[in-house]
């Protein structure tokens, strides 16, 4: 069964610090790696996603780094703020090899981030 391994499970960071969450994937149908942010009582919301032609994508304080050869990608949150406290999920498209539909996402188990003021 295809998996995306996400670490750490929980993370506590001081305000202004850097939060780093890592994910490792197996084979995928295509290169598209989204990160979702979820607040309590809400559904996951797309935070940032990276597509195949780049190894890094930055949007404001959020950066995805992508290492295709190692099959790893990570999320960096610079200058972490208390409002960033949420659960973060990485995801990868299901692989045909695992019977995926090529559309559905395989999610990591999530990282609960707490940013202390």
């Amino acid at each position: 069964q295809q998996q995306v391994k996400q670490s750490p499970q929980s993370l506590i960071v001081q305000k202004g610090g850097i939060s780093i969450i890592n994910c490792a994937y197996e084979n995928t149908a295509f290169d598209y790696f989204p990160w979702y942010q979820q607040f309590p009582g809400k559904g996951p919301a797309l935070l940032i996603a990276i597509r195949p032609d780049v190894s890094e994508k930055k949007e404001g304080r959020f950066t995805i780094s992508f290492n295709k050869s190692a099959k790893q990608f990570s999320l960096h949150i610079m200058d972490s703020q208390p409002g960033d406290s949420a659960t973060y999920f990485c995801a990868a498209p299901a692989s045909r090899n695992y019977g995926g539909s090529q559309g559905n996402l395989i999610f990591g188990k999530g990282t609960k981030l707490s940013v202390k003021p």
Binding site: F30, G41, K42, G43, L46, G103, L105, F107, K109, G110
Partner: protein, 114 residues
């Protein structure tokens, strides 16, 4: 533009009862997905519709789960009869395309089976 909506937000039922969850995707999105998150676990895929057709239902746990998408618009997910292990949060997501296309998630339905 309205987002993905789901109803109800929370449902508590007894083992053996039936529950129907509803999802209204973003207008114009042909692709509709159902996912489930059991407490402490990852969000897991259940099935994928393209318009009114089931593209992939490989994630459906068993035949107690039945999903439909009427006229390619809203979708329902029925659990009959519900079991304790069906408890979790059921998410619906929609997207315009399949490849490299953002999936927009609804707020989820929290199902508790007692």
């Amino acid at each position: 533009e309205a987002g993905v909506t789901q109803f109800p937000s929370h449902s508590v039922i007894e083992k053996g009862q039936t529950v129907t969850l509803r999802c209204d995707p973003i207008s114009g999105h042909d692709n509709l997905y159902w996912y489930r998150r059991v407490m402490g676990k990852e969000i897991k895929f259940l099935l994928h519709f393209v318009k009114e057709s089931k593209q992939d239902e490989s994630g459906m746990p068993n035949n107690r789960f039945l999903a439909e998408r009427t006229g390619g618009t809203y979708s329902t997910l029925k659990v009959q009869p519900a079991e304790l292990e069906d408890s979790g949060v059921y998410f619906c997501a929609s997207s315009q395309r399949v490849y490299q296309s953002t999936q927009y998630f609804g707020p989820g339905t929290r199902l508790t089976v007692t």
